[in-house]
């Protein structure tokens, strides 16, 4: 059946009016083979491999954009968690490696590079501990490098020593980048049950079981889903509403997978996965919060918000799974505050507190994402927030994360501005009740019964 004018116009409306684009094509590169006990050799191995393998990534993405008229917002690279490729180094060595990664990113023309990472859910080696301690400096002296630390899994439980340390590291990162509204914290995420093929920043890294090189793709299509929901009459029931979302998710997933496969094949690299998370942008109309409002809520934060998000998330998965056999990564709606226009407005109006956001993270893909809190929040409180999200993650066997920005010198009523896709975040209030004894206990929070499933 030939393509009709209506179908063509629908596609063009999606891309031109509703901001449908590909959020990212992320090339995963294994750097395990760059290992060396000589720092200089290691740095040059990593630099050379990135420059060799990534050389055509941006050009290929641009060609595909031009051929198919679909824009690709970011071109990114994810590498093997650095602590695996480079264990046993000193704190300052990791900063130097981060500089080399940043240099390669600049020269390749990519937007972000993920993988300044460590997986420490059960404990750490000296190298991993040093890498974590190097994060504040590494993120303050680089532009493109992003860091993620996995501190919990359903199988291993929660490494509470790491949770405690990450509260401190986040505070230090904020202090080191205080002149830029603590932007370092926007490039640092703490995970539970981290996926190994996630194309989205700041959590992207190239998992140890991945092939040498792979291209993964992430979508951005809240605007398209928003139209599908807005056009639904007020008396449409939930099954039909879900069906509308599902159909639209199918189309955008197909487009995303197609684009990812083209970018991969141009570089003779295998295609990995399409992540069907609906990444919002700070542009009006490209907001997950707006979709929830269009379902019939006065604003996000209203009673029913968590249910609305659950419906959205599940419906998108239904469509996405029908569209592609290669769904992976996070694959659920994102609810970052600073990156979502509707969410920013809701926070400014005082409609949604951090506790409601926490509840919402039980039914969507990430967690407390891009949330700015007062600069005087203690490191123990931040650790407590991380511990709560980890508990949700391991108990519900899902990914959760915390990307939180304790903005130095700022308080509720102020806001931080990062620009671009990172947007702006009004400072949200967070409980200041004392939790020091709880956080200082340390050790390993045992794996939940749910994790012992053999």
């Amino acid at each position: 059946m030939p393509i009709s004018l209506e179908e063509i116009l629908e596609t063009i409306r999606m891309t031109e009016v509703e901001h449908f684009d590909i959020r990212t094509v992320t090339m995963g590169i294994n750097i395990k083979d760059c290992a060396s006990d000589d720092l200089n050799k290691l740095k040059s191995n990593i630099y050379e491999k990135l420059m060799r393998i990534g050389s055509e990534h941006v050009a290929s993405a641009r060609k595909v954009e031009s051929d198919y008229g679909l824009s690709i917002a970011n071109k990114r690279i994810a590498v093997t968690p650095l602590s695996i490729a480079a264990d046993g180094f000193h704190e300052e060595d990791y900063v130097e490696i981060a500089r080399v990664m940043d240099k390669a990113s600049d020269e390749l023309g990519i937007d972000y590079l993920g993988g300044f990472s460590a997986l420490v859910q059960k404990g750490w080696s000296m190298g991993e501990l040093n890498l974590i301690k190097a994060i504040p400096e590494a993120l303050s002296v680089t532009k493109h490098v992003c860091s993620s630390i996995n501190v919990a899994t359903t199988k291993a439980g929660i490494n509470m020593d790491a949770v405690k340390l990450m509260g401190k590291i986040i505070k230090q990162t904020a202090a080191k980048t205080a002149d830029k509204d603590a932007i370092g914290c926007a490039k640092l995420v703490v995970f539970a049950n981290v996926p190994e093929d996630n194309p989205f920043i700041a959590g992207a890294f190239h998992g140890v079981s991945e092939p040498d090189v792979v291209v993964n793709v992430g979508l951005s299509g809240p605007g398209v889903i928003l139209r599908a929901v807005r056009e639904a009459p007020d008396n449409m029931d939930f099954a039909d509403l879900s069906d509308r979302i599902r159909r639209m998710a199918f189309k955008i997933t197909r487009a995303g997978e197609f684009i990812g496969k083209k970018v991969a094949s141009l570089q003779n690299v295998p295609f990995g996965i399409v992540d069907i998370s609906l990444a919002p942008t700070p542009m009006p109309g490209d907001s997950v919060a707006d979709i929830l409002r269009a379902m019939g809520l006065e604003d996000v934060g209203a009673a029913g918000t968590t249910a609305a998000l659950a419906l959205l998330n599940d419906s998108v998965k239904r469509g996405g799974l029908m569209a592609s056999s290669n769904v992976g990564g996070m694959s659920g709606a994102f609810i970052p505050v600073s990156e979502d226009y509707g969410m920013i407005q809701a926070v400014k109006k005082g409609h949604i507190p951090i506790e409601k956001l926490e509840a919402m993270t039980c039914v969507c893909s990430v967690g407390l994402d891009m949330i700015a809190i007062p600069g005087d929040t203690s490191e123990q409180v931040i650790s407590g927030v991380i511990a709560d999200e980890c508990a949700l993650g391991i108990m519900n066997n899902k990914t959760t994360a915390v990307r939180i920005i304790p903005a130095p010198g700022k308080n509720v009523g102020d806001s931080v501005t990062f620009g671009g896709l990172l947007g702006e975040a009004p400072i949200m209030s967070v409980s200041k009740l004392d939790n020091i004894i709880f956080i200082n206990r340390g050790g390993r929070f045992p794996a939940p019964v749910k994790g012992i499933n053999n």
Binding site: M1, P2, I3, S4, L5, E7, I8, L9, E10, T11, I12, E16, R52, S55, E56, A59, S60, K63, S66, D67, Y68, G69, L70, K251, I252, R254, A255, E257, F258, K262, S265, L266, Q267, N268
Partner: protein
């Protein structure tokens, strides 16, 4: 052949002597070191498949143009296509009030020009006619709208 400095070769020889133990004699050591160097070289030189950007993306493109209706839109667009030896396979147009929309399915296989060049030419012609023109390979529509 990549050059190895003396220290590297000496270290290699030392390691060979250590590993060979009692079997170490000058001849064997030389053989082992040469074999090791050859192996390193082979690994370093394993070629990566060449990257070709001329990827087959199909020869059918879809041109969509919108703008205020006026005399000569269809003529203008088909003229530039004919000049580029592009074959119009199908077209649909609609006028809603003053607003004109047209879609052309075009085969570019006989053109001596690349997709990019044809795209730029059509967009430029569209601008002369005050039209917003989008040029895309057909495959994206098949992907999104057909199972």
């Amino acid at each position: 052949m990549p050059k190895y400095d003396e220290t590297e070769v000496r270290n290699l020889a030392k390691e060979a002597i250590k590993q060979l133990g009692s079997q170490a004699d000058p001849e064997t050591i030389e053989r082992v070191v040469k074999a090791a160097l050859a192996k390193i070289e082979k690994t370093a030189e394993t070629p990566r498949p060449p990257i070709e950007l001329q990827h087959k993306t199909g020869t059918r493109i879809i041109i969509t143009a919108f703008g205020k209706n006026q005399v000569g839109i269809l003529a203008g667009l088909t003229d530039i296509l004919a000049r580029n030896k592009c074959d119009v396979l199908d077209l649909t147009q609609k006028i809603l009030q003053e607003f004109f929309t047209i879609m052309l399915l075009v085969d570019i296989s006989k053109s001596e020009h690349e997709f990019e060049k044809i795209k730029d030419a059509v967009i430029a012609r569209g601008e002369e006619l005050n039209l917003k023109v989008v040029v895309q390979h057909e495959a994206i529509f098949n992907t999104m709208h057909r199972i």
